[in-house]
Assembly symmetry: C2
Homo-oligomer: 368 residues x 2
């Protein structure tokens, strides 16, 4: 989960932690690489000259997408042997950009396209994808995976839950409205950046036609479990009701219809920017930790201790930010540890049904 | 001193250390900002359309050049209100690029052009300036300060000194030859990147017509003092003769004639790339620490303890790298501390003549 707000935590946990905890996010990209290659094929980079510019938006440390880009950029190079390639990694300013460059330049030992494909100029930008990252008409291939569920700000608190998937009524509507506005704006910003004929590939967390979403694919609902344990801290007097209410993921999970709405709405900013839908589909990618537990007959305790970090890697900042500013850092850290220990104990005691399966809506757009 | 090899050390010392220890490097840029603005004026960005692209090569954390870019980019914006600006910071992959983006995006509290000048897209690259950082014909304004004295590799050990300024005979020649080859290549790589009419402003450590160079402007010679104390560690059995010999700054200080040679040599790669000299001059910028000591009547001990970090900030990696790989980290750190303590004690005992005055050769080139 390339994610906007988790980078302080990531920096704290140190290099490599992010990629290890999010191996599932890598599977999502590896499995869908052909979708990006097909988009490149339809665009046919040989039809143009000059720089071929690609972005990886919300790329975090760049590790999860590295193998995907090795394949995609090799394909671009094959189709357009003479065109220089600019590969631009973007995330928010607090992201670990030092790690991005060390990974991409091969200093961490991972295989990188910089040693395999000629004429690539790797760069980075710390401009949010809610803004114009690049000058107009300069982008050939935009890409973002598992990032655009982050909204610019939460519209309101969620009373009895921590995520909009557990919200109802006006609260749910407020999140959906905010998600729609940010999504249309994010698309329109891309449409402006893209050259005519350019492609945009977006693999986003979403809600599929069966109502499934991340960590909610038939077993124990992950977000309900977050809310359950966070509530138990209120019940035990460890956190206040106010802190519970102030804890809200700044995220919106959108349905497939919500994702494609601005691409079909002639009055939307996205449509006005020239963006048109080429392809959309939903997929579920199995939780690698649950899979290992089920198939390798792992010990439940071991499963639980492997599994919780993949949840914690992206969710911790939201819970930490919900706590009162008046608490000491030690106090806050203790509460957060207790919270995840309770979740881990629950999984270790009864692992069945726990799985952070990934549910993504995959979109490919072109600019007319 | 934006510097290629010091970034691990910098990262270790933490954010902000670099900028504080190199306030003199900031003075060099602040004092010469008009030279860059004049180059922009001659180029006249209004004569072209499309992206105006600038690079700051060997930028380290971007802090020392921030005020210069505020003025230069405001000038570009005034002359070409409609052109998008891409501002690209470059250094080696181990540089603290996270700090670059936090400074440029205003997260450290320093005034940044991103809040003042519209239409700027800040980016970074970790490609060495000895390589092609950008695709051909895409650069409008190249800039680098206090960085190109770093060579790609030392040609040989220096027997009785630690820096080529103290070398003689064949050793001196080997360094000068390596410096000439790297310089011609560095210029040619820029010439290829630049558009026709683009400008390149380079403020580099050099040797002026009076034989002055960094830390050697009439008082105590800084590099001789480095060699003296490093030698004293051999004499006292703290390091071996082999370690002394293996300690060599991977740097070449060039004379003004050496700097301009490839720009006037029709057989050089730089000349073939279209680069032509527009302006050259030498300047001395006074050591801010010595100045404060002299003018504010600072205590010698205080001066010494302020002064040594500005030397240590860029020289430590060279001394640390000279030590045997078989020494433990603790052993190495102890030796390095002893070394700088001896230098500091010498300055505290007899401060007169100690000054790291900056001696730069300033060049402005254009691409035909």
């Amino acid at each position: 989960m390339a994610r906007e707000e988790t980078t302080d935590f990531m920096a704290m946990k140190g290099a490599g932690y992010y990629s290890k905890a999010t191996i599932g996010a890598k599977h999502v990209m590896d499995n869908a690489t052909q979708m990006v290659i097909d988009a490149v094929d339809r665009m046919d980079p040989s039809k143009r000259s000059g720089v071929f510019r690609a972005t990886d938006m919300g790329a975090a440390d760049g590790g999860t997408s590295l193998d995907m880009w090795r394949r995609v950029l090799a394909n671009v190079r094959e189709r357009a042997p003479e065109r220089p390639i600019e590969m631009i990694y973007t995330d928010l300013p607090r992201n670990d950009f030092s790690q991005v460059f060390q990974i991409v330049h091969g200093l961490t030992g991972e295989a990188t396209y910089l040693n395999e494909v000629s004429g690539i100029h790797a760069m980075a930008s710390a401009t949010s994808f809610h803004e114009a990252i690049l000058p107009s008409d300069t982008l050939d291939l935009g890409f973002s995976a598992t990032a655009s569920h982050y909204i610019t700000a939460v519209p309101c608190n969620i009373e009895n839950h921590v995520h909009m998937v557990g919200a109802t009524g006006k609260t749910r509507q407020a999140y959906e409205d905010k998600g729609a506005a940010d999504w249309d704006n994010m698309l329109a910003k891309r449409g402006a950046e893209m050259k005519r004929g350019a492609r945009l590939c977006l693999f986003n967390f979403g809600i599929d036609s069966e109502g499934q979403y991340l960590g909610n694919t038939g077993g124990v609902n992950m977000f309900d479990t977050f809310a359950l344990h966070w509530r138990s801290l209120v019940d035990d007097g460890l956190i206040t009701e106010e802190e519970f209410v102030n804890t809200n993921f700044p995220q919106v999970y959108r349905t497939q219809d919500q994702f494609i709405a601005p691409l079909n709405d002639k009055n939307s900013a996205a449509y006005a920017s020239g963006l048109r839908l080429e392809h959309v589909e939903a997929r579920v990618v199995r939780c690698p930790f649950e899979q290992q537990y089920s198939e390798a007959g792992e010990d439940p305790k071991e499963f639980a201790s492997d599994y919780i970090p993949t949840l914690r890697s992206w969710s911790e900042p939201t819970f930490a930010n919900g706590l009162s500013r008046e608490r000491s850092p030690v106090d806050r850290a203790g509460i957060i540890d207790t919270f995840y220990q309770r979740y881990e104990a629950m999984v270790a005691n009864c692992p069945e049904g726990h799985a952070m399966d990934y549910v993504h809506i995959y979109l490919v757009c072109m600019k007319q």
